[in-house]
């Protein structure tokens, strides 16, 4: 990842924050500690399957800009790890949504249901935010390297 890519990445996050603020979204709307813990819990599940060094290596390979020192097996393993991380995060957010719906419908005060439902979608927002700004750039970078280095055309 060179300097230009880093600037572009930060620029895209800035556009995201600006576009959200244009619709009246403030930080307090999208801040929810239980949802955050759910998503972090999902991420920790990755270490059940893979070593810490493998995950660290994945980030290193995806972010490095030179193609010469990378092996085929490493690239394939890295792509697999990113996919597994995303699926763990996705399923933890789906679990959160289902649990949230059950708890909100069990609530007797009907005026609170709206706020409960809003809270359960924040977990999905965190998961998708991670997908857009972390997993997809890393996965795309790995796939690009696979095309350029190994000549793979279909994934």
């Amino acid at each position: 990842m060179n300097t230009f890519s880093k600037i572009i990445y930060l620029f895209s996050i800035a556009i995201f924050i600006y576009a959200s603020s244009l619709c009246g979204v403030t930080f307090s709307y999208l801040y929810d500690v239980p949802s955050l813990f759910f998503i972090i819990g999902g991420l920790i599940f990755t270490f059940v399957n893979y070593n810490f060094s493998d995950v660290k290596n994945t980030f290193k390979i995806a972010l490095s800009s030179n193609l010469t020192n990378i092996e085929k097996n490493e690239l394939i393993l890295s792509k697999e790890i990113i996919n597994k991380m995303w699926s763990y995060v996705l399923f933890s957010s789906i679990t959160l949504v289902l649990a949230g719906i059950i708890f909100s419908l069990a609530e007797s005060d009907t005026s609170k249901i709206g706020v409960f439902l809003a809270l359960i979608f924040i977990g999905v927002f965190y998961a998708l935010f991670l997908k857009l700004f972390l997993f997809m750039p890393l996965e795309t970078s790995l796939k690009r390297k696979m095309i350029l280095k190994l000549g793979i055309s279909k994934f």
Binding site: I8, I15, A19, F125, L128, F129, F133, M136, R144, L148
Partner: protein, 155 residues
């Protein structure tokens, strides 16, 4: 080229009729949603070099097939598919933010309309761009790759 333009025009005529005429088109303009979709294209520059992206767009419109450009066509098709995936994910995030805003503000009716607009217009833009612009381009590049593979088999 004329065939392509005619096909596009015909598709747009059908879209206009389906939307109920040109008068209603201004309701489809929403700047935050446009900014959200723009993020997808900006993130593309974090993963690929500028020349790779320009080549992808150039190759998808050109009629000639160069036998030495097989890898370039594969990479170009991947660039365009990635752009489509990015804008779809951004649109889903915009929908989730819109939903959180709607459900968190059920009491304040004046904030409902922009939130609903955001949650519906961003996916509309994303789907429109993906299926009207990006999918034909990536299909055109895929076709070139298949034609090249078949010609190489024949030799």
């Amino acid at each position: 080229m004329i065939k392509v333009i005619l096909a596009y025009l015909l598709a747009f005529v059908f879209l206009f009729f389906a939307m109920g005429g040109i008068d209603d088109l201004f309701t489809l303009v929403d700047i935050p949603s446009l900014l959200f979709v723009l993020i997808g294209f900006v993130l593309l520059f974090a993963n690929f070099t500028v020349s790779e992206i320009l080549n992808a767009f150039k190759d998808s419109f050109s009629k000639n097939i160069n036998s030495e450009f097989k890898e370039r066509y594969i990479l170009g098709s991947f660039v365009i598919k990635t752009a489509g995936n990015y804008i779809l994910y951004v649109a889903i995030i915009a929908t989730i933010i819109g939903l959180v805003m709607i459900l968190g503000n059920l009491a304040a009716m004046d904030k409902l309309a922009p939130s609903i607009a955001l949650s519906m217009i961003a996916p509309f833009y994303a789907v429109l761009i993906k299926f009207v612009v990006l999918l034909p381009m990536s299909n055109s590049l895929d076709k070139k790759v298949i034609l090249l593979e078949e010609s190489q088999k024949g030799e």
